[in-house]
Symmetry: C2
Subunit: 401 residues, 2 copies
């Protein structure tokens, strides 16, 4: 890695992707994304640090969990404390004391989720701050400038995120998303930052194909699939991925935004996705729910009141190495902050180890066997719990996931 970093100045592209191995039985692939702040082995899951902090965790803990890249959010940081403030303080990495790669979402998803949204036209998205009601205009150029001020390794274009099931609206929104993608590309100039494109088109195969055609024509160093995992039926998600991934270049990373349920990670990796982000592990943790190899465990359940076992006997995270389910339940019931922290550590650890298992399996040519072994024991959250997730998004759409 140090060799690569040393040679960065000789390469025109600040972020590149090396495809190391393709799975013979699926579209899954093993690779690595090189960034100015280090390498990200893929497939990778990125914890979400919306407001320049992965909720409840310190950077030291994230390094110990071996998170390779985290997310920041343009919408939130633009409003508070202001990207100009962060720039004057040395950029987002220094601001939050995180020396590894950062990807910043453009804020499109957040803006288009705001209930008080007034207007979107080809020029900009006009919205009111959820904090103080002040009016703001996001143009593609402003969103690029903001992310250049933040200094993330990977910036995202401004996109419009419509209801994925409304065909007529998606036709219009897609035209605008493509227009904005081109303007973002033109506006982007920071040499140590990559700008990724975002495909939209809802659940409609023809629109998704059109989006892939237009964006790959523009030529981005990486491509995100936006507008999925927002409550649409899972069969639609899979069909869209199945149709669109083959239309993307093999030498660029593919990023599925907002996905983080273990079963969904396996499914999307099988489709050829390299990068994920989701608030699910941190949000579930704060609600007292933790991942286990058998499925989700709700620590509020009275059955854990005197359960002296860790969440998972075999887990090596700080939480499982020191604390019982009974203690964690006590912290959840008494609303103690340490409970939120310990549950978050376990959930992030769980997903990062899951991705490590996937990468290991890909290296050994045994991805589908690993997936099968996982799904054999893992009880997927029932449709109601998935609906909860959808409803949570509708009720509080400013946070993805």
């Amino acid at each position: 890695m140090s060799q690569r970093q040393a040679s960065t100045s000789h390469r025109p592209d600040p972020v590149t992707y090396d495809l190391l191995r393709e799975d013979s039985a699926s579209r899954a692939r093993l690779g690595v994304i090189h960034t100015p702040h280090g390498d990200v082995p893929t497939p990778a899951f990125c914890p979400v640090g919306t407001q320049a902090t992965v909720k409840t965790l310190s950077p030291r803990e994230l390094v110990e969990l071996d998170a390779h890249m985290i997310l920041g959010n343009t919408y939130h940081l633009y409003l508070r404390p202001g990207a100009d403030v962060i720039a004057r303080l040395g950029g987002l990495h220094r601001f939050m004391a995180w020396e590894r790669p950062i990807l910043t979402d453009s804020g499109g998803f957040q803006v288009f989720s705001l209930q008080g949204l007034r207007q979107v036209d080809d020029d900009s998205a006009t919205f009111r701050s959820h904090i103080d009601g002040s009016e703001h205009h996001f143009t593609p150029e402003l969103v690029v400038e903001t992310q250049e001020q933040l200094g993330s390794d990977i910036a995202m274009v401004l996109d419009e995120c419509p209801d994925p099931l409304d065909y007529a609206y998606n036709v219009q929104a897609l035209r605008r998303t493509h227009l904005w993608a081109e303007r973002c590309l033109k506006a982007h100039s920071r040499p140590d930052q990559a700008l990724f494109g975002i495909l939209q088109g809802g659940i409609f195969d023809d629109l998704r194909a059109e989006s892939a055609r237009v964006l790959t024509g523009l030529g981005f160093p990486g491509y995100a699939i936006g507008g999925l995992s927002v409550g649409e039926p899972k069969a639609d998600t899979q069909r869209v991925l199945d149709g669109v991934i083959p239309l993307l270049p093999k030498d660029r990373p593919r990023y599925l935004m907002g996905v983080g349920a273990p079963e969904d990670l396996y499914d999307a990796v099988a489709q050829g996705i390299d990068l994920f982000d989701c608030v699910l592990p941190t949000r579930l943790a704060r609600n007292g729910a933790v991942f286990t190899a058998e499925g989700r465990m709700n620590l509020r359940n009275a059955r854990y009141r005197e359960d002296g076992r860790p969440i998972e006997e075999s887990c090596t995270c700080y939480t499982c190495q020191h604390f019982s389910r009974a203690y964690l339940r006590h912290l959840v019931m008494t609303k103690e902050i340490l409970g939120l922290r310990l549950n978050t550590i376990h959930n992030i650890h769980f997903l990062l180890r899951l991705m490590e298992t996937i990468r290991q399996a890909l290296a050994e040519g045994a991805f589908l066997a690993a997936r099968e072994a996982f799904l054999e024991h893992y009880q997927v959250a029932d449709p109601l719990a998935r609906m909860d997730n959808r409803q949570a998004w509708r009720a509080n759409p400013r946070s993805r996931g």
Copy 2:
């Protein structure tokens, strides 16, 4: 220390105090308290872990901060999760993964602060839970049994905590406190736990002297001064300490409950106090206020918006080594949990280093010079801020401090 631990079984007293050095210019003293879970160099400040967690911190962080002893609270743990539950899970140390000494407060202060308190008679204090309104009776025997179930190194007697300014009521309450102290002593049987007495008597010298006489007559391995630092004028606190400390045996530790402001720690050490606890550093931290050598700093202040400096340039805590005032302010303003954590780390670090400085000065025979050097730069929180503390206690009396 290991030698002492090895010889524990040959000593009748589980907790003992060694007086190492007396200050020639004040009553301050350097010492060490030996407990079944290790030594506590004194004077010492104990962070408060009311509900089996020092708010926002992990045990690992507390060890790194080098906290020698922490507090737990009988009232809170009796209600949730129940001392019997903790006992079946192996005791409080194991429950919260804290291997160093623990002192448990008896819950008297909490019970007598409850607004819905129905009745106190010589038999017991009857109260309603602040959680579900259920009725409970604290007898001296129950409070001792509860602390034996918790397995703390130092347990406290049940005491009545009246308004410190009401003489007539203090006379009655003191009789009951002494009666209960005797019953606690009789009920106590756990050989690896010490039971400390608590002096009461409000701000009245004659009652305090009477309390010292009765309790030292009963013979406890340690003595706490209760019922002070609850909003009474500071001159009264100092006068009471000045009068009562000389009445306590020199070979037993003295513990001033609920004191934690830096200037008050210096003053009480000068009076001969060995042990302190207070929620001040953790509570202030959660309100965005941090200690500095110059006084309290409120991180909400707009002046810190772009301040790239740490809270204190010379501070060696994790917070100051990694984060700017601007970042901490951002976390406070966005209500991010990491902000509560980082502020708490700094404040606990500040007080523990202050106690270390005091011990070092005592070892070198330079205590008063150290005190003077500290107070020269430290701007004491103004009377209004002290009043805030008093009002906070009145408004939410269940938390000491």
